[in-house]
Structure formats: C-alpha cells, structure tokens
C-alpha cells in the first residue's frame, strides 16, 4: 500500500531545506567544522531526493539500452558486468557509436542525480 504524502522525495526535500536554511546557519555561528559537515549532509540529501525522483526511470532506460547493445536479457548489474568485461578486453572501444551513445545517456542520467550543476 502506498504511503501517504509527503512522498519520499518531498520529505527528503523538506528535511534538506530545514537543515540548509535553519540548522546550518546556527552551526556556522557556533561550530564551523560541523557547519561544513552539515553542508555535506544537505548535499547528500539533495542527491537522494533526485535519486528517488529520477532514479527508477533512469535505471529502466539504462537496462533497455544495455539489452539492445548486448543482445541478451539479464539484470542491470549482470549486463554492466558483461559490458565492463568487453571494454577491458578491448572487444568494444570508443569507435563503437552505439556504445558511446549508451554511455553518454547513462552518464547524463547519473550526473543529473549526483550533481546537475557539473559541467
């Protein structure tokens, strides 16, 4: 059964907002070292909020592309393991257009969660 609102993403966003706007400035005044740690924590909560919101669809897209690329069904982990093996042994390399399109799309989804401002 679904949980009531707030959704996981909404609750994470609310916690991050509170810690950023109220707890961090108070800590900065009294315990600067903890203020820094709190920024790290707030940043991590923001990652989780995006992951809850964007992660499932991103994983599904990655899985679908990998099935197409490798031509077989398996779990996401197994398919990535096979792809990593092919890349280490040189069976595939950066001249493979479909491979590069897959990696670009996968990393675009990953950075959109981990750090959308990165460029």
């Amino acid at each position: 059964m679904a949980q009531d609102r707030p959704t996981a993403a909404e609750l994470l966003a609310a916690i991050a907002d509170f810690l950023r706007e109220e707890a961090t400035p108070a800590l900065d005044r009294t315990e600067p070292r903890l203020g820094f740690q709190m920024r790290v924590a707030v940043n991590s909560l923001a990652i989780l909020e995006r992951e809850v919101r964007l992660g499932p669809a991103a994983d599904a897209r990655e899985h679908e592309r990998l099935v197409g690329l490798l031509g077989r069904e398996a779990t996401l982990e197994e398919l990535n393991r096979e792809l990593a093996r092919q890349l280490r042994t040189g069976q595939r390399d950066e001249t493979d257009v479909a491979l590069m399109a897959h990696l670009e799309a996968t990393i675009a989804d990953k950075i959109a969660i981990a750090n959308p401002k990165w460029r």
Binding site: V40, S44, N80, L87, R88, L103, E104, I107, A114, N115
Partner: protein, 341 residues
Amino acid sequence: MTVHTLTEVENVARVLTEATSRHFGATATIEGLSRQSGGASRQTWSFDALVNGERHDLILRRDPPTLGKTERERAVAIDRATEFRVLRAAFEAGVRAPEPLFELTPQDGLGEAYVMRRIGGIAIARKLLRDAPYETARGRIARQLGEILARIHATDPATLPGLARREAADHIAELRRSLDLLGRPQPVFELALSWLDRRKPAPLDRPVLVHGDYRTGNYLVDETGVTTILDWELAHLGDPVEDLGWLCVKSWRFGAIDRPAGGFGSREELWAAYERAGGGKVDPVRAHWWEVFGTAHWGIICLNQAWKHLSGSIKSMEHASIGRRAVETEVDLLQLLKQGA
C-alpha cells in the same frame, strides 16, 4: 584505583616538548598546539616552540600507530620517514617546500612522525579563486606552479630515498586492480583505461622525482603567490608530465573550468613557465594522455574514499559522500575521449 590518562593533546604536547628540546639542544616550550583539518590516519598538528626566547612556527606530521590504512594507501603512499627524506632533498634542491627539521623516534610513541617549519598561506581553492586579497596572486599562480614543478623534477635522484618507480603501465594496472577490489562494474572507467592502455607513453630513460599530488588544494598561497608545496606522500619516480597532467584535471579547477592550470591559467602558460625554468619540452599529446589518466585516477580515488567508509575502516559521512563524485569524472572522461579521438 584511579587511573589518570592524558588526553591526546596533552600527550602530543608532552612528546613535542621533549623532542623539540632534543632537536634544538635547549629547553623548548610548546604553545598553541592544535590539530589541523585532515584525515584520521594522517594528522597535521600546528604549534609554536619557544627556544631561548626565539619563536619557531612548526608543524607535526603524524600517522598514529593504531589507525589502519587501506591496502591501496599502503601500496601507493610513502611512509613518514621516506616523506621526510623526499622533503629534505626537494628543499635542499631549492623547491618551495616546507623545511623538514627532525623525526620523532619510535620511543616517542606518536607513530610515524616528523616536524617541519610552518609556512604561511592558505590552500582553500574557493577563497583563492574568488577572494579580493588574492587578486595579484591569481595572476601569478599558473606561472609559479610551472616554475616550482621544473625545480621538483630537477631534484638530483642521488639525494632521494628509495622510491617506487611508477610508469604509465604500472598506474593503469594499479587502477584496474583497484576497480576489481571495489567489485562493481564500471564501464566508463574500463573504457578510459583501455583507451589509455592503447596510447600509453613509453617509459623515460631517466625517470624524475614526481610529486604525485600536485594540484590546487595541495599548495599554500598568500597575497604574493605560491608560498609552498605540500602533501608529498604520493611522491615516486616517473614521467614528469604526470604532474603537469594531474594539475590540469578539471576537478581541481573548482568551477573555473576555462582555466585548466589548477583554475588559474592556461595549459600553455603553465608549460611555457615550466620550460623557461628548465623543465623539459612539454609534448601536448603526452600532457593530454596524463590529463585523461589523472581524470580516471581521481574518479577511482573517489570510489576508494567511499569504500573506506563502506568497508568499516573509518566511519565518515564525508568519505561516503565522495563516492557520488566519481560520476563527475565520468562526464569529463567522455568529453576528453571525444577530443582525443
């Protein structure tokens, strides 16, 4: 029965009083002892020693005996005794490095430790890149880093302690071993390492002293520019261009992405200063290779930092969160591979 135990600070102060007095041959008084930021396994303490009315600004570098290092750290990092000797050789060769003064003994009981002179300046990239007092310094840093690096690479190998020789192939093997230990498939890092493997530069006839972690965050700057180069624990013998490539990795630009030389200048400015100061001619293809390598290296270090927390060797939210920074280097690697194709 009451057991009196000294706090850690009291114990360090007591040992430093003895060791510093021993070194200067006169009674020393320790003041202002404080632990600086930094890891649990590699501590830096700042203190003043008053000897015969003279004040010495000093730093204690210390690996406590009880704290374990990860297998990878033991494999690539030098111990404090070796670091002391590298620092001595570099300092005497005229490198802007802190002057190492004396080592502590096993009987002192602080673990591997030595004392060096404290140099002024800050290492915080965010301030160096944006704050007003560093305006003049900002215009000099790229050039100064090139000049200092030429000096480091010119250190006479005969004056150095035994250091591992690490060529491109060794680095690649080490990173692959690291990925295998971490155990999760990493297609982008595998792609990058294979790309690097196929293009790796030939080993040099005469390897030089490589700093190994020459980047923004690991040197101090005051209003006049770079004052000293820190963090020598990854020193080894190898290709001088390794340090030039590492300095230009995008992760050390802290947002100033159009200034590859640590966030302060162009690659060409850095290379020209390096060459003018006696460094060898920089081959741009070789420099690009080391920049790609450095990017993959930092990404895998991020994964390893998270692993320190995940494996239970240290408990640290900060370390855990660094794992999620690895993808930044995956973005950069895909861009770099496109440029170099």
